[in-house]
Subunit: 670 residues, 3 copies
């Protein structure tokens, strides 16, 4: 089985390289500068299909041969891409049946990438062919060390609504449901009299009045992921016929909501990810940490690769803010701290044309006499010092439930409140844990939870019966559980679990919910007597074994439980019946932080105390990473060992400068 | 002629019942609980087409037979629905020509309801057939007491833009206009050179640049209503061949703007209505009262049926707030007070699946051990006490003009100000009258007005010449009239009446308007010297018989009339040349309330004085209804008789608790 | 060569006349009132196609004959229009291939104007035919003095995306680029692998995912302008076969962004323009002045014609505010002051029907007993006094660069910040100059600049290499240059100029830009030590010859240059590295005004000092125009001569009343 380590010598450093945008004389300058920066891996050929196969069945590998040879002879390894995210214009022109169609029936035009239908048989044949050709030609090339299939599956064509897709969907439904009676039962088609007489009558969830079958929409989302996975498998298998090198495709965790990466996880040899900060949000490094933790979790805890991030501004946000001084370094090292064995960028050299010409690069338009270039060179040097980190793992005592199916289901229309969003609630809980310096994994709710002291379920609206039992077993076996409102309401078909809410969690939580009381827009509700404030949601909890930790002290459920705790078997299950904000600052006693601290303490979750909540601290393997996102230096007690980046010897404490990063390797006996 | 009373014993209580969503063993529990709650009528079969006719021409009535027998044997009467609002998927698949097409040309997909073209001949044939089959089978069933054709005509398919619709529209135009020259004259096609050479050249008002012929748009709106009415008539007549029971279809007054219910009014044997509160607005009970009054007015003053409302939250608003304690009861009794002979809900039992599973029901997901169920049972008992109210009428001295054609016309593009909206102005006047404790009817502007002391015309932009004369006659004959700005500007083809504004109202108002002066966004203008504030609109009024009651004291028309009064014949006509807010609180002297009080007093309109403007008070027949929407008890003087709900005897006054309702039957000599 | 003067006797006064909307008896009243108002020119027949050619090939000129004769016999001259902006419905019905298709593929419906494809050969044939017929018939009519081809080219159909347009675009590309390799090179198609194998593979920039080729979009914009110009030329040439009278078409400068009027400028004999105030903005007279200056500049400095403006409110804005007292007069005279030889309105008589019935007119719905009519009559009299102004010119020492191609390019997706907009920046610089009482011309960046002391380049993102050299030569030759941020970044294909930013301006500015630092939404940055505030943008400037005038004192570039000055050859080049607001008030020292004053002084640009910045002052020929937009009278020193409108004699100063206009003809020796 192919896999790690891709680069035996340490952390991979480099990025996407698009030499086809430049005359060949520039290539030599590129290679020289790559070596100056310490680049040891580039992703090559992502957008090269039209050059490699200028006409259907006519190939020209000369240019690619030359650049791979040049890189190889300079000691730079190649992550060789199949170019299938952007089929040639001849393909599009010859195969109108392959065109992407949106929900309203609009045919999506060319002139950009990802404008093909993921269920197109013509696309399947053409992409398999070019992948096989590439593998056959370069499988044995010494510079090539891994395969990069496609690019960002689902970026713009996550779901197609053409008639080819409709027919493929019907086949998928036959496979999943067996017969149409089972489909009708699963989807609840007696509602509004939508019973199907045959699979032939099923349409994709195209533009329709409000109230479209939600189970249809969920199955279409699943089908669409599978269509992309099938495309990936076809290419991967075509490569595998020639090569045993690891095969990956770059995910976009967690910012490509239609892609269920749990479904994807087992398909790749190495999980790789693209991550970009949202420049418009404050403290984007918390979202970055979440993305990295989720990526590591999708990778099953194994090291993974940061396939793309940016040296500075991107080009596709409303306002593309450059990174602040030190931010590229902190971002890069945060990814490494959370399990990445690479720091790769889109892109090596800034483009002069095309849609992404204002996207930052390792080599900016301003050239090498620039702060950015000097930072890139410095980072390369630091990463060489971090080589021993490669392959080591991050351990967590707390797991957060993340389920794309629940994400989709909660975002569908006609829920009790548009304000209660999956992503918002997960981020609130993640942020609170991050500020408490707790390292977390993410888990699927039906996954093995035995490694965790505590499992947190932030508004996981869809929970299967199996998932419910899984959480129940976790608590009975002595685990701790913290569940937030509107979890466990429906099954995989968006059917409400029988009996009072929350069907599959009533027993483990020791309560039921009689009625939901969503709050008016911007409404709040008081919780307890010490200033906690709920937003978005209140509900009428009725205890059945649990006891009240805090009651609502205002709003439609005043006097009724807001936070509860239930001892069950050897464990404890907590419930939060409203949306609490994470709380900012080290000394906050309010909001979600207060509840979480109590639950973490009860669960015996270890974590450092007394540190500012702008300090990021965690261990990867033996190495301790300290990232200071604040404006003041921070002294961290209990730190002894060698500073990997600064060479300092720490004995008892380390002071991390404002905006700085310190990585400490403990003494061997520590 | 079929009609009232549907239920001779009193107020109908119950709701939509969808047994097809549940196994048959649940039906028996349903019936038992219905009896516990006092349910005496359910609407059945609304979404059952695909079960009744699983293949084209193949019928299966077994399930429906069983449930009707079960209900009947339990004493629960059935309002039997034709299932035609949601045709089967086989119908959709077999008849692509029947698919709804939106204004931009998108074919609307299935997987929801109301996705058929209202002009489809295939739909016409299929819906007539199933309606006839149902009528033939169940006409004589003792449990069936009325027919519920379709469901919410126009909910999502009010207007279709397919070629079938286009052809039907051309036929409709031939009927209306006779020849193309008349069409051109009516529509003013010389503007922008849009003269038609033949009816064949007419397109529906599909997606077009701004400035599309407005008369075309108005006629398309009329045609579309008629297409739905034709569908209703076809089903009704198919039923009538077998049954003399009353036939209704549930309207959505006033929240389905494309449906002109004046056009619909004469088609049904009993007017029935669905009404849902907008949870996002404060004091939604005022809008409820308006809806009920408008429904009663559409019913010609006869009793009507509340076919659907909700026990608590709905599912289709952004934030679906549950009702507050007592609110379901107040809502239900307010409908009865304003003329409803029923309190029916969507729905009996909360669904586990489908788009409306979070819609409240009489029997919630939480089951019978819940506040909601206890409230449902209690309401059922109270309604039995109100049986004597059935069939009695509400009388009003004031009429408000409501004209859907004017509604449509004012909402079309390119009016002087987007801020001046029909619905907003009607609601402002309605609210002011409600707060003054004045009971109102709604009238079409060309209707007989002789019953009313005063007629209010809130920004009725479109008024035909006949309507103008009607209002003129009303005043000459001694009636009072209050008109707000931008009324009477255009005729039925959106053509400006000749001469200065407002063409058909100049004489009766004794003034003309030289120029409109819409205000900037959020702009205001002072009116009079005591703090009245106009919004949205100012205009240059020139007196021609009227006299100034208040002048603008700021803005573009400072010093010119803002409110005028004109004595004409035996009556008086008032004019308000800006948009005034209703004014809140019992003692307000400001805004619209101040003007209205003067006009009401001049007209001699009777109403109680000195009551808080959160108390709803009105008579239905002999019964006095007092609904307290405030947070404090209210003592109402001059009340004597028996409390119908509480059994109390009132002599001289009644105190209504906060949030409570008191219904008083006066002593026989009162 | 046909051209000026159209009306030898002075300023043209009148407007669009649509007698087809009225019975013939009204025509006589029209003519009588036109004479009363001093109307001497009307535009006739703009929307008359369906009346002139009621069936394809069948003509009826009787009505048009009669109205032209009537006008001519009354001394009113005719600007005779071809009716081709609104083809007849028979044309639309017979030629479905001519229908406009929008970017998403929606076929645009009829029932409005401008719903045809500009590349349609059927439209080309039909429009050429009707233009020729009109010219043949009326070329010799004494009342006809000029030709008005079409109406507002590109109003709603600027760009069509049908297959006919696609094919025409491919032909256009062959012409522009020669072969597909050149196309690929120009468009940078190696990016994302979008290389074309043949022109046949090119699609218009239809609906696509983000990231569509920007050079494709720019070429499609150019092609679309050329398609409209081809339509114009075809009609113009058809007319020219019969008539030597001047031919115009009414532009919509600068409010029809897809129309590049520099491309149009040489096509017409007389430049004419439609201008409407945006009622929602304060001080709309500044935008009016800008529009007039840009129109004069498009006309090459020659007098031009104001073809349409409004007497009061329009109908197509959200809130159509009427003009304030005196505003129509000030607007009209401002156009004349800036080079117009006409004051024409849409429209003569207000329509009773159609989309524009609430658009103001010279003769309002209220009739002649109205303020508006009295103002119209008074203005006509004043314009007769201004006859000597006809034909004279406006001179400017300062030029502002305006380039529609740069406008388009900057508005495309994926720029560094959505907040940096071409129009916003041009207006900021224009307003600052207007408030400094500096008269400006607009220029294309590659035009001859020798007439100007100073050239201002407000965020001209796209500057060709030739344009860059042009600006360089201007400075070397002793001119002054002021450039604002994000100028000179890309060439005509949206390809970034080589090397550091700003490629083609580095040398002339004596600096480079290392990195852009767009600010967060609503963010600001301090500039200098005296309170200047930048918005939207900051950037890292590196000096290479220039010196710092002001530095950033906050934000991401604190301590680095914000405003610089570079002496080069005999001239000086200034650079402003952020977005400064214009600054309001006569004494402002802040913001853009402070920088501009320094640059104007250095350049020796003459202008009056000490006047309030609400006073508009400029010379046209020998006449001095003083327009007081403020609420107080203003005394202007140094004014001697005869008041043309008031007959006053001014000796040394003139006092202009609040809201008033004074025009002074200096004594002959002045």
């Amino acid at each position: 089985m192919p896999g790690y380590p891709v680069l035996p010598e340490g952390i991979a450093y480099g990025g996407d390289y698009n030499p086809e945008q430049w005359p060949e004389e520039v290539w030599h300058e590129d290679v020289r500068l790559m070596r100056e920066a310490g680049v040891n891996l580039v992703s090559l050929g992502i957008f090269g299909w039209s050059l490699l196969e200028p006409e259907e069945g006519v190939y020209d590998f000369g240019r690619l041969d030359r650049i791979i040879d040049l890189l190889g002879s300079s000691g730079i390894r190649v992550d060789l891409a199949t170019p299938t995210s952007s089929p040639p214009t001849w393909f599009r022109t010859a195969h109108p049946g392959s065109h992407l169609v949106d929900r309203a029936g609009h045919v999506v035009a060319g002139g950009s990438r990802h404008s093909f239908c993921p269920s197109s048989p013509e696309y399947a044949a053409a992409s398999e062919r070019i992948a096989g050709r590439l593998a056959a030609r370069y499988a044995g090339h010494p510079a090539v060390v891994m395969w990069h299939v496609h690019n960002e599956y689902g970026w713009a064509n996550a779901r197609c609504y053409c008639e080819t897709s409709a027919e493929a969907f019907r086949d998928w439904l036959r496979e999943r449901h067996g017969d149409v009676a089972a489909l009708n039962a699963a989807w609840g088609t007696t509602f509004w009299g939508l019973t199907y007489g045959s699979f032939h009558e099923v349409e994709p969830p195209r533009l329709a009045p409000a109230g479209q079958l939600t189970a249809l929409q969920l199955d279409y989302a699943r089908f669409s992921v599978d269509a992309h996975i099938a495309n990936f498998r076809r290419e991967r298998d075509a490569i595998r016929r020639f090569s045993d090198l690891p095969v990956t495709t770059n995910f976009m965790i967690p910012n490509c909501e239609p892609m269920d990466y749990w479904r994807w996880a087992g398909e790749v040899d190495v999980v790789s990810n693209d991550h970009y900060l949202d420049a418009g949000r404050a403290e984007g490094h918390i979202e970055l940490a979440m993305a990295a933790d989720l990526t590591r979790s999708v990778a099953g805890g194994r090291p993974w690769m940061l396939m793309e991030h940016s040296t500075g501004a991107v080009n596709w946000q409303p306002r593309n803010l450059a990174k602040r001084p030190g931010e590229m370094r902190r971002n890069s090292l945060a990814h490494v701290a959370r399990g990445s064995d690479s720091v790769l960028f889109f892109q090596w050299r800034a483009s002069r044309y095309g849609a992404e010409k204002f996207h930052s690069a390792m080599l900016p338009h301003a050239g090498t006499d620039s702060e950015l270039w000097r930072d890139v060179v410095a980072l390369g040097a630091e990463l060489r010092e971090l080589a021993p980190v490669r392959g080591s793992r991050v351990e967590a005592e707390v797991a957060l439930v993340w389920d794309w199916e629940s994400y989709w289901a909660l975002e569908l229309e006609w829920r009790p409140s548009v304000d209660l969003r999956f992503r918002e609630r997960v981020e609130a809980y993640y942020e609170a844990l991050w500020r408490e310096h707790v390292t977390v994994d993410f888990v699927h709710p039906a996954a093995d939870l035995s490694a965790y002291r505590m499992v947190v379920v932030p508004s996981s609206y869809l929970l299967t019966e199996a998932a419910g039992k899984n959480l129940h077993r976790h608590v009975e076996a002595g685990g701790h559980l913290l569940v937030s409102c509107f979890s466990g309401i429906v099954d995989e078909n968006d059917t409400i679990h029988p009996g009072a809410y929350p069907g599959v969690l009533r027993d483990v939580l020791g309560l039921s919910v009689e009625e939901f009381h969503p709050l008016p827009e911007n409404g709040t509700v008081a919780v307890g007597d010490d200033g906690l404030t709920g937003r978005i949601w209140s509900e009428r909890v009725r205890l059945a074994g649990a006891r009240t930790v805090r009651a609502f002290t205002g709003g439609p459920d005043a006097g009724h439980p807001a936070v509860t705790r239930h001892e069950l078997g050897a464990g404890t299950a907590w419930y939060v019946a409203t949306a609490l904000d994470p709380g900012v600052g080290p000394d906050t006693d309010g909001d979600l932080r207060a509840i979480l601290r109590a639950a973490l303490d009860a669960a015996g979750v270890s974590r450092p105390r007394g540190l500012p909540d702008t300090l990021e601290i965690l261990r990867r393997g033996r190495h301790l990473f300290l990232l200071n996102h604040g404006d003041e230096p921070v002294t961290v007690p209990g730190v002894s060992g060698t500073g990997v980046l600064d060479g300092a010897e720490y004995a008892g404490s380390a002071t991390v400068p404002a905006g700085g990063v310190t990585v400490v390797e403990p003494a061997p006996d520590a």
